[in-house]
């Protein structure tokens, strides 16, 4: 078997477990630790059954041996509140942190748009923005790489069942973080993000609408081509990422209507919003792993965020 980079997942909830199931199929990542805080957590028992080392004592429970266990990449699927501390601890042990929380202490990473830059920067912490950001920022970038975008707006509509208590308690964090990344990663001068939660049964598949306002009249052919190429890039790690309608051109407005269906690993298929986070997190880890295996990337324990 080819060499893989060993990884730890912090947070054995829905996201962490879905990520684990995806990581177990990876050619480049080998999950070895699952870290939780509740000994009764079903996610921890599941991980243990799958042969991972587990602890219910948080990151501290893994720190003593993580270096010896060869952990080079950690995923944080807990909450923004504890993320900074988790990140500091694993960075000290020389591991890269991939942040699936909205803490965003490291640079934003949307794989098909700026993963290479994140790699080149040698960051020891990268943030996966938000589910809405992962689903829409590639499309904003697809337009902004053709011509300048004065304003990018995204509307993410997600099923009620797929929105956890953390997001609900701090929904402003979603709108702020996503809008910020529409600017910083998507390349729009001004960004706006809207999230709508729909409780319909059966749950609706995640939908996303992306509106860009271009400075000059849109170059329709070039944008269509760029959008198609970008959709294909995202489909490499989220096969259920679909352009339903558009791009629609209306004056300076370019609009795209997307649907994101998940793989249904641990999370149900309608929760494409969660699937695209775990898939993007794993995709990011794999790109770093390739560099690590080729000896082109390393983090020193002294590096701090």
């Amino acid at each position: 078997m080819a060499e893989k980079i060993k990884a730890a997942i912090i947070g054995p909830g829905n996201i962490g477990t879905d990520l684990l199931m995806k990581a177990l199929r990876s050619e480049l990542i080998e999950p070895v630790w699952m870290v939780g805080v509740d000994p009764e957590s079903p996610g921890l028992s599941r991980a243990a059954e799958m042969g991972l080392k587990v602890t219910s004592e948080g990151v501290d429970g893994m720190l003593a041996t993580m270096k010896a266990d060869g952990v080079q990449i950690c995923f944080d699927a807990t909450s923004a509140y504890v993320h900074a501390e988790n990140s500091r601890k694993v960075n000290e042990q020389g591991a890269l942190m991939i942040d699936l929380t909205p803490a965003a202490i490291g640079p934003y990473c949307v794989p098909p748009v700026n993963l290479k830059e994140a790699l080149a920067a040698g960051s020891n912490n990268v943030n996966m923005v938000t589910c809405g950001g992962q689903a829409t920022i590639p499309m904003v970038a697809a337009v902004s790489r053709v011509q300048s975008v004065s304003y990018g707006e995204i509307v993410a509509t997600v099923s009620s069942k797929s929105v956890g208590p953390g997001t609900r308690k701090n929904i402003d964090e979603f709108t702020r973080t996503t809008a910020g990344a529409v600017e910083k990663v998507g390349g729009a001068r001004k960004g706006k993000a809207i999230i709508v939660i729909n409780p319909a049964e059966p749950p609706l598949i995640m939908r996303d609408t992306i509106h860009c306002l271009t400075d000059e009249l849109p170059d329709q052919d070039a944008i269509r081509k760029s959008v198609d190429e970008m959709v294909a890039e995202v489909q490499k790690y989220v096969p259920g990422y679909r352009l339903k309608n558009g791009p629609v051109f209306d004056g300076n407005r370019v609009s795209m209507f997307m649907e994101v269906e998940g793989l249904g690993d641990f999370l149900p298929k309608y929760a494409g919003n969660l699937d695209i986070m775990t898939a993007a997190g794993l995709r990011t880890a794999e790109m770093f792993a390739e560099e690590m295996l080729a000896g082109r990337f390393s983090i020193t324990s002294s590096a701090s965020v």
């Binding site: 707006e153 407005r253 609009s255």
Partner: protein, 342 residues
């Protein structure tokens, strides 16, 4: 129905819900003139913001003629007795908007969520209550769930600090008995000091009737809009409600002739189209669809050659909620493709 002596606080919507009907293009002059007229007529509360609340300015909902800040500053400056309220939909606006509104002199914040999603309002209701504002939890589209579920959600908002809970008929779909059941159960189950409000849309011509039923069942705040200016077939026409309440000896505190004059002389002349129950707004009420979808459906129908009624009926069938305006163009495109039109 005996409502004699009941005290009701009326809350005007024409400068907020009316923004939908005006595609958010009310001028500052129009806004201040109407607000002044309402103030002089004795209106205790006037709502001012983008139709979709603070931060609603967007491609999705429409860019307004002026920012929320500009509107609020202008209106707060011209009213003497009326209090100004602002609407906030979590997911669209944030606590930053809330603080901005409070700094400009807004004293009532209404935090609106879909009727099943009250828990996204915790940070906004909590902040507004902490700031000492009159804090309202505004449950939208309440026709979509049963009274018992509404109570659960209302209790969440109450626990976050809301001192008033609204049962909102965003689609203008509720029948009088359904209003009665919802308000009566809320009155029984919420704290006695928690105020109760009702917000109607006139899509089935029941705005006035349902508002009276709500008062009878225990609501003490009633939304309406002068000349009905609001989304869909508009809100409960306030001058009509005031006339009826006058005859029923409800204690509403409004000067009937003055509010009639505001409706006739200031609000009706600014309408882009008559606010009436046309085929499409009737469809909203019949199919249970969010009232501000109306003009979006009409535009999509005109652009893609499909029927706006068909679009609205399908939006109802899919159980869309407030804020999903982006579904309308997407759906119209699907329908046009299916019919070989594009």
């Amino acid at each position: 129905m005996d409502l004699r002596g009941k005290k009701v606080v009326l809350h005007d919507m024409c400068l907020r819900d009316g923004m939908h009907a005006k595609q958010h293009q009310i001028s500052l002059e129009e806004m201040t003139a109407i607000a002044k007229g309402l103030d002089e007529a004795g209106m205790p509360l006037i709502e001012v913001t983008h139709g979709d609340g603070l931060g609603g300015s967007s491609v999705n909902y429409g860019f307004p003629a002026h920012s929320d800040e500009e509107y609020l500053k202008a209106v707060v400056g011209v009213v003497k007795n009326a209090k100004i309220s602002a609407l906030l939909l979590p997911g669209i606006g944030t606590v930053d908007h809330l603080k901005m509104a409070a700094d400009l002199g807004v004293t009532t914040i209404r935090v609106a969520t879909h009727c099943t999603e009250a828990d996204v309002s915790e940070q906004h209701i909590g902040m507004a209550a902490q700031m000492g504002l009159d804090t309202v939890g505004f449950l939208m589209m309440t026709h979509m769930i049963e009274a018992e579920q509404i109570v659960e959600q209302a209790k969440l908002m109450e626990s976050y600090g809301a001192n008033c809970i609204y049962c909102t008929d965003s689609a203008g779909y509720l029948l009088p008995d359904q209003v009665k059941e919802r308000i009566a159960l809320l009155r029984r189950e919420l704290k006695p000091e928690t105020e109760l409000g009702f917000h109607a849309h006139h899509n089935l011509s029941l705005g006035v009737m349902n508002s009276l039923v709500a008062v009878e069942a225990g609501a003490n705040r009633i939304d309406g809009s002068v000349a009905g200016l609001g989304a869909g077939a508009g809100n409960t026409p306030l001058e009509v409600l005031v006339a009826v309440m006058d005859r029923m000896e409800v204690n509403h505190g409004i000067d009937l002739y003055k509010i009639m004059d505001v409706a006739e002389d200031l609000v009706t002349p600014i309408m882009d189209n008559p606010i009436r129950i046309d085929r499409d707004s009737l469809t909203l009420g019949y199919a249970g669809v969010y009232s501000s979808f109306l003009l979006f459906a009409k535009r999509a129908a005109a652009k893609y050659g499909v029927s706006s009624r068909d679009i609205l009926v399908e939006l109802g069938r899919r159980r869309t909620v407030g804020g999903q305006e982006d579904m309308i163009e997407d759906l119209a495109l699907d329908m046009a493709k299916a019919r070989g039109l594009i």
